[in-house]
């Protein structure tokens, strides 16, 4: 080709027009709103010079509806492509708010479908960076159809490739379904929001005044609805979080998760594990301290931290290998299981199961949260959901009972009989049908009625019950616990346990899918 001839010159000119369209003024528009440009986000996420854009020059469909002039912008408001994150191939679509408000039209949707399709074909993760005004009204049903196809792809890929949604701007109306269908949702505080119906409609229909942030901002979704798993103060940190999360995932459901060399300079403070659980069973403690001491240094990454804090879910590494951790948190609501925590933990377990991430359960649960509110809202169903999720999971599952394990909650938290591979207990464990106080009220009802000091007697009986009936050695001797271990030994025992379970596979008779209570 003649590099001075027309053919090559036309090629270069087109690239110039492209650069102009995505010039500094567009970037400034986003910056002025406290947001990054769609391409800046991609640059932060991907390894240097590894991103390849696809369909950069497509233009919008041009239906002549007479509604308004449609910008002939390249790309139709979304940037798609692939690149490497920490060296691994990942697909992405990043909506561009500066082009037609990032709104979704037929071509925009087709681009997203393209990367979803490609990611599914090659078995690579896909990340959606959402920053969109929603459906492009001018394009009518075509926009809706576009969204629906995107949802369909989300569902087709669910459990096959990891899908992450990062909400970095508005996501309203039907658009919010896609994030809800993906595996994890990130949001940035104050400049992103998600809701089905916006504040203006709420005001009109219900006469309720709410702000965007109250209705569907990052904090709302992190704390109240549980839709957002990770929230950050600003976009850079959000994207760093995405990278961090990805480092725990395999590229697809046939692979095992990646490996990160543990920090060998770690001080061996595992004997501190002995000091964390107090002897007094009514005293709370922070189970995250246990997690931090057992897993690799600084490897724990908590998911849905602010939602249902009475259960802790997150990813961590043991000797470099990724695991999913589910732990009851005694310092919130005494660690009981309720509707919110059942749902949070169940979805987390199923994600780990889909992607071959072994599960570690740290148990200290006195039971389920009582009350009309819970019962009327179906704690039965939701608790059963968690039970189903644990039982169904065929990844390596190891439980360590730290303290309380009573009744139904004991069964639910990955007990041996629903498929726990190794079940350990600490000496402080109390395993029983119900808590000592409740048990003695029933067992010794007669004596308690006839005594002058029922309080004192109850305390004595409870102490005896704790010692003789609820101690972990009984369960150990019967085989429901594999071993009562020294807390300081936990890390080593768990590393060995998971190592031996690396080849685990459970044959199941084939079925379309189970019928998990929803």
């Amino acid at each position: 080709m003649d590099i001075n001839g027309k053919i090559y010159k036309d090629f270069l000119n087109r690239n110039e027009r492209f650069k102009v369209q995505n010039g500094p003024d567009k970037i400034k528009k986003q910056h002025d709103k406290g947001k990054l440009h769609a391409r800046e986000r991609i640059a932060l996420l991907f390894d240097k010079d590894s991103f390849e854009e696809l369909d950069a020059f497509v233009t919008s469909a041009t239906p002549d509806t007479g509604f308004g002039k449609i910008d002939e912008a390249f790309g139709d408001g979304v940037v798609i492509g692939h690149g490497r994150i920490n060296g691994r191939i990942v697909y992405v679509y990043s909506q561009d708010f500066t082009v037609m408000g990032g709104s979704l039209g037929a071509v925009h949707a087709k681009k997203i479908l393209k990367v979803q399709e490609l990611a599914l074909r090659v078995g690579a993760p896909i990340i959606g960076l959402i920053d969109s005004g929603g459906a492009r009204i001018q394009e009518g049903v075509a926009s809706l159809a576009g969204y629906t196809s995107i949802f369909h792809n989300n569902i087709r890929s669910s459990g096959i490739i990891p899908q992450i949604s990062v909400i970095l701007g508005p996501a309203a109306g039907g658009a919010v379904y896609s994030p809800a269908l993906t595996d994890f949702v990130f949001m940035t505080k104050k400049t992103s929001y998600m809701f089905l119906t916006g504040p203006d409609v709420v005001k009109e229909v219900l006469n309720e005044e709410v702000t965007f942030d109250e209705l569907g901002g990052a904090e709302t979704h992190a704390r109240k609805s549980g839709v957002a798993n990770f929230i950050y103060e600003d976009e850079e940190n959000t994207l760093l979080g995405v990278k961090k999360l990805l480092s725990f995932f395999p590229s697809n459901n046939l692979e095992n998760p990646p490996y990160v060399e543990p920090d060998t300079k770690r001080n061996d403070e595992t004997d501190k594990l002995r000091l964390i659980v107090p002897d007094d069973p009514n005293k709370p403690y922070d189970v995250k301290k246990v997690i931090e001491l057992i897993t690799d240094q600084d490897s724990f990454y908590e998911s849905s931290e602010l939602f249902a804090p009475n259960i802790v879910t997150g990813f961590a590494r043991l000797n470099g290998k990724a695991i999913g951790v589910i732990a009851n948190q005694p310092k919130v609501l005494a660690g009981v299981i309720d509707i919110g925590s059942s749902n949070k933990a169940a979805r987390f377990v199923r994600f780990c199961d889909a992607f071959n991430i072994p599960i570690l359960v740290l148990e200290d649960v006195p039971g389920f949260l009582p009350g009309l509110d819970q019962e009327h809202n179906g704690i039965i169903k939701h608790g059963a959901k968690l039970l189903f999720a644990f039982s169904e999971a065929t990844v390596p599952k190891v439980t360590v009972i730290l303290r309380k394990a009573y009744g139904g909650a004991f069964c639910v938290m990955n007990s041996k009989n629903i498929g726990g591979d190794y079940n350990f207990a600490w000496p402080t464990a109390e395993i029983a049908v119900m808590g000592p106080e409740g048990a003695v009220s029933i067992l010794h009802r007669k004596e308690l009625k006839n005594t002058d000091d029922p309080k004192k007697m109850k305390k004595e009986f409870a102490a005896r019950y704790r010692n003789e009936v609820a101690n972990p050695y009984i369960a150990d001797e019967k085989g429901y616990i594999d071993e009562v271990i020294d807390p300081a030994e936990s890390r080593n025992k768990l590393i060995t346990a998971f190592e031996t379970l690396e080849n685990k596979h459970v044959d199941q008779p084939s079925r379309k899918h189970g019928n998990i209570p929803l």
Binding site: H31, D32, K33, G34, K35, L36, K190, T191, E208, E209, V210, T211, F212, D213, E214, Y232, E233, D234, E235, E236, N237, G371, L372, D373
Partner: protein, 177 residues
């Protein structure tokens, strides 16, 4: 203190205080602080007991990170607490933008802190109330709890009556600020 030099060149960090005063540092790993035109070096000493000191301009400061949450730090220097958030040049601009455009919610919803029974309301609709003013008595867990207002405003709506049973987080009163 051992750490490797940055692979990235010229990393700028803007440390912000609560009063939005900012301090800019470029490549802090190079261990100097610029004052005027001079780069004055910093020395970091960590003793056997784990205490960390910074020596700068011949003065010794005890430093300790007492809390850290993403990019928000609470640093103790000589026992005095300084909340600092570390921003990049972009996130710093973003902070300024957000501070200017704060969405001010007009309605404050007073929610039940726990399930219980309403004993009585001490205020009525359209009444002007002050911070700390008692609004209602909620009986829960065998105790009578007085719920007070944490804002100033006018009562827009009272959603329940005396003797009603409420659940946690039920919206009891709406106040217009």
């Amino acid at each position: 203190m051992m750490f490797s030099k940055s692979k990235k060149s010229k990393q700028k960090f803007i440390a912000c205080t609560q009063k939005s005063k900012k301090y800019e540092f470029t490549n802090p790993k190079e261990l100097y602080i610029k004052q005027g035109k001079e780069n004055i070096p910093i020395e970091i000493i960590s003793d056997k007991q784990g205490l960390v000191f910074i020596i700068w301009k011949k003065k010794k400061y005890l430093v300790d990170i007492i809390e850290k949450n993403q990019n928000q730090y609470e640093i103790l220097v000589n026992g005095v607490s300084y909340p600092i958030s570390v921003e990049s040049p972009f996130s710093y601009k973003r902070r300024k933008y957000l501070a200017k455009n704060k969405e001010i919610s007009k309605v404050e919803r007073i929610q039940a802190p726990m399930p219980g029974k309403i004993v009585e309301f001490l205020v009525e609709e359209n009444q002007e109330i002050k911070v700390g003013e008692p609004l209602l008595i909620l009986e829960a867990m065998k105790m009578q709890n007085e719920i007070v207002s944490n804002i100033q405003g006018k009562i827009n709506k009272i959603n329940f009556h005396a003797d009603d049973t409420v659940m946690k987080d039920d919206i009891l009163i709406e106040v217009e600020k």
